[in-house]
């Protein structure tokens, strides 16, 4: 029956067609502004980042300590039990070398997005960047240490950590 289909719809356009006004188009810049409530867990996380500290939460039932913190343990489905002040160092779980920015434009100096398992947690990682190193030298399992912004530069955001740098042996 679907052999009946002889032609498939779809009229391709090129970027030039739009630029040259060959097709009618309307542009619109949405105003999408939000003021998200960080809540209890992330509120504390961000406040502690301003103090140059990384905090996590621990669940007594399964024993896991996790970061970024949440007020509940998703595996046990119960409120978790305490705040834990973690070290600001960790281990590279996986990494990559990025030559593009968020909007897909090319960047000259590559970034090194990495999942870093923070010391003191149960293998819980956070997304951040590795810096102060040749990208080729990054290794799985490498130990890294947070490099913080100066106190007056910190605002209570994940970017209060500028990046993580490798800890020399």
């Amino acid at each position: 029956m679907s052999i009946k289909i002889k032609e498939y719809a779809g009229t391709p356009l090129r970027e030039e067609d739009l630029k040259q006004g060959k097709v009618l188009s309307i542009g619109y810049w949405p105003k999408a502004k939000y003021n998200w409530s960080a809540g209890v867990a992330i509120g504390r996380y961000l406040a502690e980042l301003k103090n140059a500290r990384i905090v996590g939460r621990q669940c007594d039932k399964c024993g896991r300590t996790v970061v970024p913190p949440r007020m509940f343990c998703e595996w046990c489905f119960r409120p978790n039990d305490r705040w834990v002040i973690l070290k600001d160092s960790g281990v590279v779980n996986t990494y990559s070398i990025s030559h593009i920015a968020a909007d897909a434009t090319r960047i000259k100096k590559p970034l090194i997005p990495t999942v870093i398992q923070i010391d003191g947690t149960t293998d819980a990682g956070i997304l951040h960047l590795v810096g102060e190193t040749d990208p080729k030298k990054v290794k799985f399992g490498m130990k890294v240490q947070a490099v913080w912004k100066r106190p007056e530069e910190r605002t209570g955001a994940i970017t209060d950590i500028r990046y993580f740098r490798p800890i020399e042996r």
């Binding site: 029956m1 679907s2 052999i3 009946k4 289909i5 498939y8 719809a9 779809g10 009229t11 391709p12 356009l13 090129r14 970027e15 739009l18 097709v23 542009g27 619109y28 949405p30 939000y34 998200w36 960080a38 992330i42 996380y45 961000l46 996790v66 970024p68 949440r70 998703e74 779980n93 996986t94 990494y95 990559s96 070398i97 990025s98 030559h99 593009i100 920015a101 968020a102 909007d103 897909a104 997005p113 990495t114 999942v115 293998d123 819980a124 990682g125 956070i126 997304l127 951040h128 960047l129 990208p135 799985f140 955001a157 994940i158 970017t159």
Partner: protein, 375 residues
């Protein structure tokens, strides 16, 4: 389905209409015969229309009908038919039209920029991440744990783009070699340009019917025998990314329903989701079509070619046909349909395929949606 392309003149409504119209024509039904409609479409941010599902109602043929939009990120294309299956198998409806549409080109200058908003607003967005970062992180972890050389992964891209040359709707069909992939521009190591599927516009649609109605319409209906879906934790940085547990869970759910005990033996061909080449391998393992770490060898040895023992992505997949997110998943369902009815033309796999599985993936490396279909 419509052609998949980087930029279509048609609006989202028109794309949905073309696909829906074609689906109805292909089985000789009229829109009046359709009792319910479900739409799958991924982020509103691409189209720049809030409540995109509402906007697409008329294009999807849902005027004055029960209509819902389901949305599980990239997994939508295979979840939409599952949602459609729920409409019919619940006994509420005899027919359901499933439409998936995507118009990514509306987002300018490049749709990829919209992906920034999928990341966590507090812990990730301030770092300015690009979507490709998480794929690169997962790919690198997968390669590291199983010691997979890049050549074997690149072979997937070569296979799929070549398969797509026989697909009339394909956007990126071409003959390339493993060297071409390895020499292509590095975007986020280890991901290179030819490892990735493009952003696309396109739509696809399928018509589902209950057994009685189906048998009146056609002599060879294709049955949905198994459905499964699963979502992993949002905390993706707390997981080991080398294995998609959520795909395995979804597959188990679908296989159990379909009565499949040994997927490697009982499945004749598969259409796993391949937005990146390594993803096809990752998902083959999640679908339990091979052991963990074994998939790269299967593709390298030609087992997953169309004439191999276990054809994978005979359509050309997302890498070859294109990636209008939700429509791409439904395209795989269409492929299963055409292959199982021996209507896939030049793409037809030899032999007499009876059982096949389609899978889609989505969210932040979280969603697995699986459908098993049988002739």
């Amino acid at each position: 389905m419509t052609k998949f392309m980087r930029r279509a003149q048609e609006t989202g409504k028109e794309l949905a209409y073309e696909a829906a119209r074609m689906a109805l024509d292909s089985c000789g039904l009229r829109i009046e015969d359709i009792e319910s409609v479900t739409m799958g479409s991924a982020p509103d941010a691409f189209d720049g229309v809030h409540m995109k599902g509402e906007y697409l109602i008329d294009g999807a043929g849902a005027w004055r009908k029960p209509y819902m939009r389901n949305y599980v990120g990239g997994g939508t294309g295979v979840f939409a038919p599952i949602h459609g299956w729920q409409h019919v198998a619940s006994g509420l409806f005899d027919t359901c039209l499933v439409v998936c549409e995507e118009k990514m080109s509306s987002c300018r200058p490049h749709p990829q920029a919209a992906f920034l908003t999928i990341f966590d607003n507090f812990t990730e967005r301030p770092l300015g991440p690009n979507l490709v970062w998480i794929f690169a992180l997962e790919m690198h972890r997968y390669m590291h744990v199983h010691k997979i050389p890049k050549e074997k992964i690149a072979a997937v891209s070569v296979k799929n783009k070549k398969n797509a040359m026989d697909h009339p709707c394909a956007q990126l069909a071409q003959k390339i070699t493993v060297e071409d992939v390895l020499n292509s521009e590095v975007l986020v190591w280890p991901v290179q340009r030819l490892d990735i599927s493009p952003t696309s516009d396109g739509a696809a649609a399928v018509v589902l019917a209950s057994e009685d109605v189906a048998r009146k319409i056609t002599d060879s209906p294709v049955w949905i025998d198994g459905v499964g879906w699963n979502l992993d934790t949002a905390y993706w940085t707390n997981r080991d990314l080398y294995y998609p547990q959520y795909v395995e869970n979804a597959a188990k759910m679908a296989y159990q329903m379909a009565g499949i005990k040994n997927p490697r033996q009982e499945i004749d061909f598969a259409e796993p989701y391949d937005p990146f080449d390594y993803k096809e391998l990752h998902h083959m393992e999640g679908l339990m079509l091979c052991k963990k770490g074994e998939a790269p060898d299967l593709v390298w040895e030609g087992v997953t070619q169309r004439d191999g023992k276990l054809p994978v992505c005979p359509s050309g997949g997302l890498l070859g046909v294109g990636n209008p997110i939700a429509a791409a998943g439904l395209m795989k369902i269409c492929e299963l349909f055409w292959q199982l009815r021996r209507e896939a033309g030049k793409r037809q796999i030899p032999g007499d395929p009876k059982t096949a599985v389609a899978q889609a993936w989505g969210d932040l490396m979280q969603v697995g949606t699986v459908v098993v279909m049988r002739a």
